[in-house]
Amino acid sequence: MAEEFASIHLEDYYAKFIEQDVRPDGRELGEFRACSLSVGNLHPTADSSATVRWGNTMIVSGVKLELGKPTDENPEEGFIVINVEMTPLCESRFKPGPPSAFQQSVGQYIEEILINSGCIDLHQLCIKSGKLSWCIYCDIMCLNWDGNFIDACNVALISCLSRLKIPQLIIDEESDKPQINDDIPLRSLEIGLFPISSTFAVFNDSVVIADPNLHEESLTNSTVTITVNIEGTICGLRKNGGSSIKSDQLNVCLEKAVNRARELTQLIEQL
């Protein structure tokens, strides 16, 4: 009976729950879903990998290290390239073919969060100034979409990068080819404080709920994503149009985001 009602009048179904300050999956309005993380599943083919289960959302990310030539403007810096894939495998709304505007904007934003946070200094990726540097290719794939892709993606990306180990290279003088020096142990990538993002959805210009799942995302046209690190530095703040909110509601979201950042930073560091 409840299922039929939900499939026909999803908005009214949700409104009844929100009146009682609770959501159909049992969470409170400000509660995030549990996140579980496992790393190193794709070893040894991927240089670093992570799988994130965020409620029913499943994300797999893999990192490969390659060599490249630094640009002329920044001869002392390497590269980080982030590619996000949302295929029809994870949810039927994505059609095969070139990425839609939505897919491109999500991919763009994940990259922006990492760059804005400044947690990775690209100078550590340089091997020989102007000639050779490391290029980190991160590919993030969604296996099951149940809402809140950005937060889960971010956790997968950061846990991958924090586990990445970079080998030491010697450049053979005669053939001018780089070779891996097996004697020196791999060094970890140095990362500063992790930027952790938290997404909130706005209903009917009034109610703000944390961590929307798929059904909740389809009911709202407005999300707020706040990216903070545990120090309280905001690395990204974005509200995507849609329903309007008051400025003090943003402050409430900000506090929740900082708490969530502490939880998730601990989770990533503990593994």
């Binding site: 505007a101 904007s105 763009q108 974005r238 149009g241 309007s244 400025s247």
Partner: protein, 280 residues
């Protein structure tokens, strides 16, 4: 020189010269090492404005004859033209026709000649343009009374003609004016403003130099009568304690811009009605 020769003794002159040279060397070193200062000690920005002043705003409504509504908006040196077509029948069969509301379609492009260096020609498929188009579409969905135009489509086309910072904000303001010119029912103006944070001060309405300086900046769009925030986009990082200050400054900036644009729209309507009366 003859006076100097008489008043200042020769050995004092060499000491004076040496001091002047040393001081000027230090000043040059200071300027070169500190980079471009966005806010000088006297509180002036690179273009001579104060921190709370926005650039001069000029707008012209109804300049395109084919479009249902159009506007050319200039904020300082940033020039944006926006055209609105609609409400009309849904043209693309791939987009679902909505039974109870209008679909808003937005396209944001930057002209190749808009900056000092020529930008490559495929600005349409550029990731950033696509992202901004989607965000602007969502922003206006909360401002237009879409339920008054069921089963139809409203197109908003925005083109940046000259780019000197705050392109995104000027684009939203121009689209707002174009919607008004097209007589589409809206809840309120959608006003947008950008703020950059440097030296513990918020600078309103960033120019290109301020935007590209990698200081933290915020672009917001609000409905001015209720001060409710519809869009927020931040660049670079800042501490969360500064958020309230930045938001307040940006909301204040939006209200200033709203006053000006409101007056310009009313002037335009008065002129049109006077012309109509004169013709009859």
């Amino acid at each position: 020189r003859r006076v100097h020769g008489g008043i200042i003794q020769p050995h004092c002159r060499t000491v004076l010269k040496a001091t002047v040279i040393t001081v000027s060397v230090f000043v040059i070193l200071y300027v070169v090492m500190s980079g471009l200062e966005l806010l000088s000690d006297q509180g002036l920005r690179t273009d001579g404005r104060r921190s709370f002043e926005h650039r001069s705003i000029n707008c012209r409504l109804g300049i395109l004859k084919q479009a249902d509504g159009s506007a050319l908006l200039e904020q300082g040196q940033t020039k944006v033209i926006a055209a609105v077509y609609g409400p009309h029948e849904v043209t693309r069969r791939t987009t679902a026709v909505s039974e109870d509301r209008a679909i808003i379609n937005c396209q944001f492009t930057t002209a190749t000649f808009s900056r000092t260096e020529r930008k490559s020609s495929n600005t349409l498929s550029d990731r950033r343009s696509q992202e901004l188009s989607l965000q602007i579409k969502r922003t206006f969905e909360s401002c237009v009374f879409t339920n008054l135009y069921p089963r139809s489509q409203i197109d908003i086309y925005i083109q940046i003609l000259q780019s000197d910072g705050s392109n995104y904000s000027t684009a939203i303001n121009a689209a707002s004016l174009a919607l008004i010119n097209a007589s589409i029912a809206i809840k309120d103006f959608m006003i947008s403003c950008s703020v950059v944070y440097t030296n513990n001060t918020s600078l309103l309405d960033c120019s290109y130099i301020e935007e590209s300086s990698r200081q933290p900046s915020l672009t917001i769009a609000i409905l001015p009568s209720t001060s409710r925030v519809v869009l927020v986009d931040s660049v670079s990082r800042f501490h969360m304690d500064h958020l309230e200050e930045l938001m307040d400054a940006a909301v204040e900036g939006c209200k200033q811009i709203h006053t000006i644009l409101n007056n310009k729209v009313r002037q335009y309507i008065t002129n049109i009605s006077q012309q109509m009366i004169a013709q009859t």
